[in-house]
Amino acid sequence: MRQRIALDVSELPMHGLEGASPTWWGTFAFMLLEGTGFALVIAMYLYLLDLAPQWPIGAEPPRLGPGTALTVILIASLVPNLFISRWARERNMRKVRFGIVIMSLLGIAPLIPRAFEFSALNTSWDSNAYGSILWTMLGLHTTHIVTDVADTIVLAVLMFTRHGTNLRRLGDVQDNALYWNFVVLTWLPLYICIYWIPRL
């Protein structure tokens, strides 16, 4: 077909930011996907709870210490997480470098109480369905922390290389911060299911 020039796009920016960025939308799509997964696991928990004559089955409720410590760390991490997102938007490299190191550490920190959470459950995955669903919830969420912290550490390393100053990488930092919010927020209903519903 013959072409007729109808539009000149040469003045447009060379990279889409936030709502104009495919990775931003991609991150949302993955959050919807994984959020559905978390919702289904919670639905399984409630379904099994509804069936059981008593809940928890054959065990004391989980000890509160490690899980609560982890919850506190995760919620606290939201503050620097919001800051790093803002710094990335402002393209303040010095602060982004500082922030990404902090976020890497705050990603590793919850893994320490998490390691103790499994033994604090007072049940094993192969004891009964109650133990199975608790371990699955904790395992699923741990996978999310581990993958996101690995991503954060790789980004942190990148920030100190020649690639770090690229606007694209700052977009990655924002998307990574967005995803960390998701990792924190999905934990809250799991925390209530694992630690507080058995105490009702």
Binding site: R4, L7, V9, M14, S21, G26, A29, A129, G131
Partner: protein, 637 residues
């Protein structure tokens, strides 16, 4: 902010078409050689691979169907032993659903959506490559296992306790569960790509009310995949945990529940039907409009019907479980919602009929398949309304009536439009026409063969023949109908065989296809057949929902994109106003290597749970290498 030198800033502005085409080809072409082949991120190459692979699985699944028909042709037949028969019907079903139907629909979208919305490649093209390389081993796993007498034998929905650790000895059910993981990872990846492609990469001016209906259908389908497939992932993972590490999700003795499996499976399984059917709806709308020679009647109701179907799809799953003894009020709710979904489907049928009625229909092969579809699908829809009613469902549950019903909706509702779509888009994809003469024979044989094969199954079901029995006694009096069905299946098989012959022969000796052989209105027909690696020399600008009918001679285009990096346009979500020139990633071997690493982990995990731990290390390494910036011009921002 960029570390790259962008002082030299070559643009397509002012370049003549030949020079531009040469530069774009240098930039977008997939390199030759084995590494180039494995590294390709071109949505057309990947889409073509998907389509060919999916049709190969259709062929294999069809062979199993014929084996079933030979076995059932007469009472007390000994062609297939009972254990093999169990594997055959399970692999047939699992193969058709997970390796053929869903992938082939997504495959067409992978190929067509970027062309139909006027962009150069799909969003996240490397993820797209990864999705194919993870789909392929999933399929190979199932079929190699079957060849080794390790094929799943628990039915395509793998109900517990049959598939659980107590009854499902050996690795057969694990193969099923892991095949699910492979194919769902692949399907979910493509769904995310499609959502982002459709949201952000539409040609300037293609506002929401100008999106082609096939693209709408794939958008809704993608959201269904994103929200339904996690259920089967959770289900298959918990099943494998029960089998491998001794969890008790489905063990009633330890607080688990077998019906939990059915809820999870059908929360996925019912939307799955629409994941297969909605793309077909998009194909039908496209074909009907082109061959009726008029814009589709009722664009808005058709789009709303897609959404209504997509939403209602999540409120139907319990109608697969009417006989398990659920509370009456629940059954009534699911009966009502199951019947309600007939409304949007009815609206679609009326819109298509109105388009044909008011148009000047040209009865080429694709339209013949659409007519075959409308007749067959309406019959399947009617039996669907029948089995939505609890008393009737209780009577025919697990009989051949149900087998007939779901083949009518899946083959009639999805495979017929798919075959029409192959005849319709083959010239674009291959650059040659398929045979119109053979096409008419294919349409006739498949339509007649299908109805003769499957209609009598309704009767078999009503007179009590259960599904999934390897044989039956002569005193049941099912022999003559079964023999008739099996003979009719030969007609159906002949139709499919002829289709494959036509498809393969036409690739070599079909008539060369022009740009727009059907005089169709959508953008994929505005570029050569087959399209070049970069799809369009310049990104089209759209001002109508049927752009090529609006301006048949000239294509309004955008200029100002760079010619030294893979660049495409991002536009706003609703109005499709240009927002940015975005780069599109180059070819990379890492998605292939990441898929290999994932395959090793998934297969090993069937045999040792620790594989999940050590197996993630190579996956992490390949993923980091995949995402690490390579300093190409695409990195500039």
């Amino acid at each position: 902010m960029s570390t790259l030198d962008i002082s030299s800033d070559p643009r397509d502005t002012g370049l003549d078409e030949r020079a531009l085409a040469r530069r774009l080809a240098d930039l977008w072409q997939t390199p030759r050689g084995i590494i180039g082949t494995l590294s390709s991120v071109d949505h057309k190459i990947i889409g073509r691979r998907y389509i060919v692979t999916a049709f190969f699985f259709l062929l294999l699944g069809g062979v199993l169907a014929l084996a079933i028909r030979i076995q059932l042709a007469k009472p007390e037949n000994r062609f297939l032993a009972p254990d093999l028969y169990n594997q055959v019907f399970t692999v047939h079903g699992a193969n058709m659903m997970f390796l053929f139907a869903v992938p082939v629909m997504e495959a067409f979208a992978v190929y067509l959506v970027p062309l139909m919305i006027g962009t150069r490649n799909i969003a996240f093209p490397r993820l797209n490559a990864f999705s194919y390389w993870i789909y392929l081993p999933g399929g190979i796993t199932l079929w190699v296992a079957f060849a080794l007498d390790m094929g799943p034998d628990v039915g395509w929905f793998a109900y517990v306790p049959l598939s659980g650790p107590q009854y499902g000895a050996g690795k057969r059910a694990d193969i099923w569960a892991q095949m699910i993981t492979f194919t769902e990872v692949s399907a979910l990846a493509v769904a995310v790509e499609l959502v982002v492609t459709i949201f952000k990469q539409r040609a300037p001016g293609m506002s929401l009310d100008k999106i082609p209906l096939f693209v709408w259908s794939m958008l809704v389908t993608s959201f269904l995949i994103i929200m339904a497939m996690p259920a089967i992932m959770v289900a298959s993972t918990t099943l494998i945990l029960d089998r491998l590490v001794g969890t008790h999700f489905y063990n009633p003795a330890e607080g688990g529940d077998v019906l939990l499996w059915q809820h999870l499976f059908w929360f996925f399984g019912h939307p799955e039907v629409y994941i297969i059917f909605l793309p077909a709806v998009g194909m039908v709308s496209t074909i009907v409009s082109t061959f009726a020679r008029r814009p589709i009647f009722g664009y808005l109701p058709l789009v709303l019907a897609l959404f209504a179907t997509g939403i209602l799809a999540f409120g139907l799953w319990v109608h697969h479980m009417f006989v398990v003894g659920l509370p009456r009020v629940g059954e009534s709710f699911f009966t009502a919602s199951s019947m309600a979904i007939a409304v949007p489907n009815g609206i679609q049928i009326f819109c298509w009929l109105a388009t044909l009625w008011d148009g000047r229909p040209v009865f080429k092969t694709p339209l013949l398949f659409v007519i075959a579809f409308i007749i067959t699908f309406v019959i399947g829809g009617l039996t669907g309304v029948m089995v939505a009613s609890v008393p009737l469902d209780t009577q025919v549950h697990d009989t051949y009536f149900v087998v007939a019903h779901f083949h009518y909706v899946l083959v009639g509702g999805a495979v017929f439009p798919l075959l029409g779509a192959v005849y319709y888009w083959y010239p674009k994809i291959i650059g040659r026409m398929m045979s119109e003469r053979l096409g008419r024979w294919v349409a006739g044989l498949v339509f007649v063969g299908f109805n003769l094969t499957f209609f009598p199954m309704h009767i078999l079901g009503l007179i009590g023949m259960p599904r999934r029995v390897y044989t039956y006694g002569p005193e049941m009096n099912w022999g003559s109908i079964n023999l008739f069905v099996s003979l009719s299946a030969a007609i159906l098989a002949a139709g499919f065989l002829l289709f494959f012959v036509d498809a393969i022969r036409s690739a070599f000796s079909g008539e060369p296809a022009p740009e727009n052989p059907w005089n169709a209105p959508t953008l994929e027909w505005a570029t050569s057949s087959p399209p070049p690696s970069y799809n369009f020399e310049r990104i089209p600008v759209v001002s109508s929902s049927d752009p090529l009918w609006e301006t048949p001679e000239t294509l309004p285009v955008a200029t100002g994109l760079r010619t030294d990096r893979r660049e495409l346009l991002l536009t706003s979500l609703s109005e499709a106003n240009p927002q940015a020139r975005e780069s599109s990633p180059r070819d990379s071997i890492w998605p292939f290597l990441a898929a290999i690493a994932t395959t090793v982990m998934l297969i090993s995990s069937i045999f040792s749970a620790w594989a999940v731990v050590w197996g993630s290390v190579p996956i992490a390494v390949t993923l980091i290498a995949w995402f690490w910036p390579k300093g190409t011009p695409e990195d500039a921002a």
